[in-house]
């Protein structure tokens, strides 16, 4: 054991002398590695949060829900679309105004998408309820709810969830099922609104709206 200690001490001396030789300096102050790990709170805030532009948001919402927001043109400038005369830069900043209008847009398009899906017999033609077998009477505890949520996570957020246990799906399970009893007829009452809420939530998710 003592021989091991001696070897370690010797190696240490070799390493120290090597560093000294490489450094070619008589300065005895400790060397600070600039690559050292910095705590997250010490990282300077150099990257501003950037959201989708107005047109990217409109296009993304259309691709995700299959529906266009009625007020796109009315609020495009307010959401940051440049006029290329006076304003040449796209608005990309998060704000109360953006959050409010994005919420209005998401609710309208999601409502239309879910209601249209409920009238579409061909499952592959549906946008939001594609994996749900029975759309006439929506059941929040339908056996395919998890599969449909995985499909929506992929559609809206580009997230591939392997199974229903994925933590990224849990908030949406809660939206659909919290406070409901799987054996109670009342569970059908708000099912459509809850699916609209899931769709709306995914369209307002940071991963949908930001880079």
């Amino acid at each position: 054991m003592s021989s091991m200690k001696s070897m370690a001490a010797g190696l240490g001396l070799v390493v120290m002398s090597s560093v000294g030789a490489v450094g070619c300096s008589n300065d005895s102050s400790p060397y600070t590695d600039p690559r050292s790990i910095v705590a997250p709170e010490e990282v300077p805030e150099t990257k501003r949060i950037r959201r989708l532009t107005a047109d990217q948001f409109f296009a993304s919402l259309f691709v995700a829900t299959g529906q266009r927001w009625d007020d796109e043109q009315q609020f495009a400038a307010t959401l940051g679309r440049p006029d290329f005369a006076e304003v040449t830069a796209e608005g990309r900043e998060m704000s109360v105004g953006f959050a409010k209008l994005a919420g209005d847009a998401a609710r309208q398009t999601c409502r239309r998408a879910v209601q249209q899906d409920r009238e579409t017999a061909d499952a592959d033609s549906r946008v939001i309820l594609r994996k749900i077998d029975e759309v006439g009477q929506l059941d929040p505890f339908d056996s395919n709810v998890g599969e449909n949520l995985r499909y929506l996570a992929l559609r809206f957020l580009g997230v591939y969830a392997v199974d229903d246990e994925d933590r990224r799906l849990q908030p949406w399970f809660s939206v659909l099922q919290e406070g409901l009893d799987p054996s109670d007829e009342a569970r059908f009452g708000e099912a459509e609104d809850r699916w609209i809420a899931v769709c709306t939530g995914l369209a307002l998710h940071p991963d949908f709206l930001t880079y």
Partner: protein, 442 residues
């Protein structure tokens, strides 16, 4: 099977709630209740007249009794009411105000004018970026921060919409995101922004949706240092809910049959966009929703042809009547403007000579008007009496002096920002300290 549907990630939720709690603390501190009376924060309004105003009809007129080598007053083409400037006492000296400015005359006791400002360009785009920020742009691209952004950053005390921009771009390069302007393309959109959620779901479902958004895991967030996207969105949702709870939207329904709206209709010319813009700006301040508002009051000042003689003065009158009404309204609860500053500006002026089409083209010697209590009252600077050209002025007296400074937007903004308690160094010009009556504490 059903067991897995119940969210089992309490630790994750607890973590998120902790983070969002911090975000909410940031959003709520220090709380200033909406509709609070007598709130202490300093209010700021910037009123922009779009297109380049004719300062000879407004802030830098000439006595028509005189003769001017390089100026065509052309008063015979103007309606009689727009031919004669009128004298106003500013800071103890008599100054001429343009004939279109009668609506501002009751507020001359609060006025500081900067005349003969070198805009250094006659390009609309460049001059707009320059005038909004007080810093020379890169080409037409603004380099600095809008003055409204600076003012909001100095005096915001937790307003829900600290900085608002109506029909005008706003820039934020140096300040926190919360001071970026909430933009509206039209003042009427304020009701959409602060009103009820369109297509709202049943209350219980909305609650579940909000909870899900609070709990949702973001893959984007690790790419950010500092505040996270979900924090920003959470803060915004919180503010929207508080706006809706206060039902403050009614304060912007100018057609409502309420005593307050009747008073506003009597005060403001709400039949035109200028009146709606300034009334909205004033209400944003008076409801404490905003600390700083920048609004395009009116456009249509780019009168290169014969319409100069008719449209330019009428549009100036319309804009000044709207601004005058706003000043009256804001003086209602702050008579001496101890906690209010109003800036009135345009991107540049119009030529002293009438062009071949009977109008005036772009001219670089501009005027800026400030109504408030932080600056010395009177007129700083001057344009050449004979040709509306630029003059060097003494930085202390503001009077013409050979070897003095050439007044620029940087001087004006540095002075204004210093008086508001901010840092003038980004403007790279010394503030005109002799013209600062008092410096506010941010």
């Amino acid at each position: 099977m059903s067991k897995k549907y119940h969210c089992p990630h309490l630790s994750r939720r607890a973590l998120l709630q902790g983070a969002l709690g911090g975000a909410a603390t940031y959003a709520l501190w220090p709380i200033r209740p909406v509709l609070a009376q007598g709130a202490a924060g300093h209010r700021f309004v910037a009123c922009f007249l779009d297109g380049g105003w004719d300062v000879l009809l407004a802030g830098d007129p000439r006595d028509p009794a005189g003769s001017y080598e390089g100026i065509d007053l052309d008063i015979n083409r103007l309606a009689p009411e727009f031919q004669d400037p009128f004298p106003v006492s500013m800071g103890g000296t008599e100054q001429l105000w343009g004939p279109t400015m009668q609506a501002l005359a009751p507020h001359a006791d609060l006025a500081t004018f900067f005349r003969g400002i070198n805009m250094n360009t006659v390009s609309h785009e460049t001059a707009k970026s320059y005038s909004h920020t007080g810093r020379q742009p890169a080409g037409a691209v603004a380099k600095g921060d809008s003055i409204g952004t600076v003012a909001a950053s100095l005096h915001d005390q937790g307003a829900l919409l600290p900085n608002t921009a109506i029909s005008i771009p706003s820039y934020n390069r140096a300040f926190d995101n919360r001071f970026s302007a909430i933009r509206m393309n039209d003042p009427r959109e304020i009701r959409d922004l602060i009103g009820a959620t369109q297509g709202a779901l049943p209350e219980g479902v909305e609650g579940l949706l909000n909870q899900a958004l609070a709990d949702a895991y973001s893959c984007i967030s690790p790419a950010y240092s500092g505040r996270l996207p979900e924090d920003e969105l959470s803060i915004s949702r919180d503010r929207i809910l508080r706006l809706q709870e206060q039902d403050v939207v009614a304060r912007f329904d100018f057609n409502a049959e309420t005593p307050e709206m009747e008073q506003l209709r009597a005060l403001y010319p709400l039949g035109n966009g200028a009146g709606r813009a300034t009334a909205t700006a004033a209400q944003l301040l008076r409801t404490d929703l905003s600390t700083a508002v920048t609004t395009r009051v009116r456009g249509g000042f780019d009168t290169h042809r014969g319409e100069w003689a008719t449209d330019q003065p009428l549009r100036l009158v319309e804009a000044f009547e709207a601004i005058g009404a706003m000043l009256t309204h804001l003086r209602d609860d702050d008579p001496s403007f101890d906690r209010t500053t109003v800036l009135v500006y345009s991107e540049f002026a119009r030529t002293p000579k009438i062009n071949g089409d009977g109008g005036r083209d772009h001219w670089f010697a501009d005027t800026v008007m400030v109504f408030g209590s932080t600056l010395k009252k009177g007129v700083f600077g001057a344009s050449n009496e004979q040709d509306l050209g630029l003059l060097a002025v003494d930085p202390t007296t503001g009077l013409p002096e050979e070897g003095g400074i050439q007044l620029t937007p940087e001087h004006v903004m540095a002075t204004l920002v210093q008086s508001l308690g901010g840092d003038p160094s980004p403007y790279r010009e010394d503030p005109l300290n002799a013209w600062i009556a008092k410096e506010l504490t941010p």
